[in-house]
Symmetry: C2
Subunit: 243 residues, 2 copies
Amino acid sequence: MGKRAAQPRESVWLSPRPARKHRAGESELDREKIVATAVRVLDAEGDAKFSMRLLAEELHVTPMSVYWYVANKDDLLELALDAVAGEIELPSLDDGEDWRADLRALARAWRRTMIAHPWAIRCYGEYLNIGPSSVRFTECAQAVMARSPLPLKDRSAALNVVFQYVYGFTATESRWLEHLAETGRTAEEFAAEVTGSMAALSPALEQGGLLDRDGDRSMEELRDRDFDRGLHWLFTGMVAGTP
Amino acid sequence: MGKRAAQPRESVWLSPRPARKHRAGESELDREKIVATAVRVLDAEGDAKFSMRLLAEELHVTPMSVYWYVANKDDLLELALDAVAGEIELPSLDDGEDWRADLRALARAWRRTMIAHPWAIRCYGEYLNIGPSSVRFTECAQAVMARSPLPLKDRSAALNVVFQYVYGFTATESRWLEHLAETGRTAEEFAAEVTGSMAALSPALEQGGLLDRDGDRSMEELRDRDFDRGLHWLFTGMVAGTP
DNA sequence: ACCTGAACACCGTTCAAGT
DNA sequence: ACCTGAACACCGTTCAAGT
């Protein structure tokens, strides 16, 4: 991931390579199948272990066969990312909901999908992400913003701010969850360890209570609450206007 | 970067390995010098080209010598990240400034440093980032929040939300800047290309005006303005309270 | 205590050759 | 039109050996 080549690479979407199709067949190779398998392998093994060679093995094919359908690994990951973006559930826009409710639904759906495919949010940071499914998502978001009271010229900037927050929140959360999975610790154990390690460097931080929260809610509930809170603050601020 | 090993790795900071020091010497190897050189190579070559072998070459030493001082590449990157975190300019806290002004200054300083070391923000996403300099930063942020009107128990969550936004904004921005540098295009050319490519998939988006902004300000000014705006909205929302 | 060389088990990708 | 095998130029890291 993110290993940018020495010479720059054009996005698959900017200069699309033809998705070559074979003659007849059924269980034969084609780009769609390759991308679907890549997503499956990425989900199962993570992007650290994912390789063209492993993918080829899964396809029962030589590594180099894959290169007939995709130009290189980066292109493949960009295609895989857009495939996953296609899973994001878009809210229906004519349900009479407030624009904020719809935007929140959109943000939640994005987060849910990214948490389900932790490798995807790392791709999201690397690539332009302007494939068809991402565009469909952006279209929906723009339509929601169009119902906001914001002046027309501020809408896209506002939308960007919202999704920069969503991206930052989800990336952090996803990393945290992966750490837990890797080390096999519970969220509480891990939080205690991190706090302890920071407190060793700075006694001030312990009493600052970086990590203690209302005790009787699960970590997951707290994350959901914090996520929604950030959105709520942004919406409030946006409506209040900018000086 | 981000290639997580098959078996989980403990953070350098959670179980610190001793920074071995050699006997006398002057231009000899030691952990400090290794980390400083790593930062220099990362700045010059980017994290894609950075390797233990390249670093060793720069140090005029065998690749394996480095492993006497750091356990592995991930540890080294975590150390490099904290070194860079040490460059962040913290605002002085007794200048009678509003807490929002100080928090904004902190966010701006963080962003400035990360933009100056594009590889660093990718590390930031990967590692726990609880080294001494990061802790120092968090300490400062907590001290600023302590002057906010927010209820004590909400302060750390609010701080997290702010820096999740800052992280998302800066990561996106940094990626954008790298794309420009790689392809040698101007910001305007690149924006036009991306918009065009999206519009090809969705005519609705073009008239939606995803990317057109007040024409007479530079892209850089616009980014600064948008960054501050998001912060302002969050502050406004935070003060208005959560339902 | 520190540094080396050789080797292992991987990568992504090129290229010429097969069918 | 599609797929292969061999090879190239890399990785991070282990391990036994040197000083």
